[in-house]
Symmetry: C2
């Protein structure tokens, strides 16, 4: 094979199989994306149709085979790594959890294997918080790995325990501040994750995106709304943020949300503004309370461009500096987990050199 | 007609035609209920089917005629009084609003008349707050009239302006405290109304009941829930109240609601408890914030028995004394508005003595 070609050989099929969306990437030996597939065959749709664990596993296997057929035919034996709800107890197989505090580097050593025709699929475990505030993450853990790789100074990401201990000893307080960070993964269920180096110290979830969808689709407010929230933070979105900041503690969200209706009735909010205003109220409530529970000076944001833009405005309005990471963090994270697990390597596999 | 019979003659058809429910009462010359009709033909269902104001009016008229036919046939010319969403701009006809502060006694002088076959239907106006916090009431205004009649000392309800001025002069502060009261009408859209004697000083709305329905029916939490909230406040409901009181300000509702899922995943909440726990979180948030915005020592509660029980527990937990009024307050209120409007009188109409 010519010298200029090997880097483009396929080395991994990476799946981010969420509740409502299936995303798959064909990655080369450097972790770069060769090809991509997206589909609405989310884990929830499949599990809702199956009446037993066996039927469910068959449905996941058939959907995977259908959506990735051309890749699997062209690259027989290619390793497959999968994160997200496909690894839940209502998914393909239960991939379990790592209890926090948990080193993200440990994900690679707790993969669950399921056969899929001529392929073997490796499921990434989720993260679980026990104690007073139990919570779970499933899928975002590989985004975290990708986000850390994209934003780390290198020292944090690669640090061994000894290096970290040394840094902590030299100036415990400064080093601690430097190593700690908050990563926010906004979405249907937004995750606020507190990291200490490569270790997830804790996290919490706000069902902001799901509430927005329910209100806009099925509530009395949705009947007034003309269209969805725009692609970026608008003045109306900021109005919602400000209303929440000014009145949220006193009036509470169940009362504040209803103002989307009363402001329309009073001709002070147009139907086309309802979605943006609601988005401002809801993201405002999430961000304000999350920062109150766990103050942060800098936040790493990882999401789609339009969602990231809204959270950036809400965070900066609260005096927080934002570092943004693209939504391809999942593909990057899966690649790094695959490397750690020995599923893929920076060398092109021998059988593909033939 | 025999001496013991006249009080049972029909004197008014009273309609409480809400968003999702139609309720009608046939009342005698004392305001007592002779007969009752309930139906799911809510104003929203009718208005959703009609594509013009004319078609909508026809649908309301036909539904009214169908549901009340036997009463109208037996008592030709009987007066009809109607409150609720039937009087909205998406209803039978727009009955307008009284702007607050508004004397409830003024409702009777602002009725809107619509013809309905051989009958004439009188629509009660709603209440509207303008200013910084616009809001509307439509239907609850007659429940307020009924609730006041049921709980007043008599002085408040019957007081003239002169009598009230005199009371205020004799001891302005005590009399003011005595005359002010908070009435809570919990439901899909809970109303917190501040009254000064028979005058509505202001009100606010919390969409607690609608949020509960959306979450239980359509959210990821609903898929974990086995059954609806029970008929009365349970220990699990109180658990929800306490979680909201302890963590609501710090964690916020979008995060707190998600704990219904994480507690189930952690085996600490059973599927059968999800609805009660959610009800506790939501009612807890509504009551806590409403009392923070407008503190009260005593609250008059007007709703169905199971809803009233939950709000009573939430209010008493916050140190508030509760006076409960039954959900038939709407029929009582409509009767009193009809008396004030001269539509009905305590005397049996002559034509019915024949």
């Amino acid at each position: 094979m010519a010298d200029d070609a090997p880097r483009r050989d396929a080395a991994l099929v990476a799946l981010d199989w969420g509740t409502t969306t299936f995303r798959a990437w064909l990655l080369d030996g450097t972790g770069a994306v060769l090809d991509e597939v997206r589909s609405a065959d989310g884990a929830l749709t499949l599990s809702a149709r199956a009446d037993s664990a066996r039927a469910r596993a068959a449905a996941f296997e058939a959907t995977f085979a259908r959506l990735c057929r051309s890749w699997l035919d062209e690259h027989p034996g290619i390793p497959v790594l999968c994160s997200g709800m496909a690894g839940s107890n209502l998914g393909w197989a239960d991939a379990g959890y790592l209890d926090v505090p948990a080193e993200l580097g440990g994900l690679a050593y707790r993969l669950t294997v399921v056969p899929a025709g001529d392929s073997v699929v490796h499921l990434v475990p989720g993260l679980r918080a026990t104690g007073a505030h139990p919570d779970v993450i499933r899928g975002e853990e590989v985004q975290l790995v990708g986000a850390l790789a994209a934003t780390s100074t290198g020292r944090d990401a690669a640090a061994t325990s000894d290096e970290r201990d040394a840094a902590a000893t030299s100036d415990e307080r400064d080093a601690g501040t430097d190593r700690r960070r908050t990563v926010v993964l906004p979405g249907t269920h937004s995750k606020w994750v507190r990291l200490d180096g490569g270790c997830v110290a804790g996290f919490s979830t706000a069902m902001t995106g799901e509430l927005y969808g329910l209100l806009l689709r099925d509530s009395i407010l949705g009947r007034l709304a003309e269209g969805e929230a725009g692609p970026a933070a608008s003045d109306t979105f900021t109005w919602g943020l400000e209303a929440e900041a000014g009145q949220g503690d006193e009036r509470g969200l169940p009362a504040l949300l209803f103002t989307a209706r009363t402001l329309v009735l009073a001709d002070r909010l147009a139907g086309t503004q309802v979605a943006d205003y609601l988005s401002g109220l809801l993201i405002g409530a999430e961000v304000r309370h999350a920062l109150r529970a766990e103050p942060a000076d800098v936040v790493t944001l990882c999401g789609s461009p339009s969602t990231t833009d809204r959270y950036r405005v809400a965070l900066e309005r609260s005096g927080v500096m934002v570092r943004a990471v693209g939504e391809d963090a999942a593909a990057h994270g899966l690649w790094r987990v695959a490397l750690d697990a020995g599923l893929a390597s920076l060398d092109t596999p021998e059988e593909q050199l033939a």
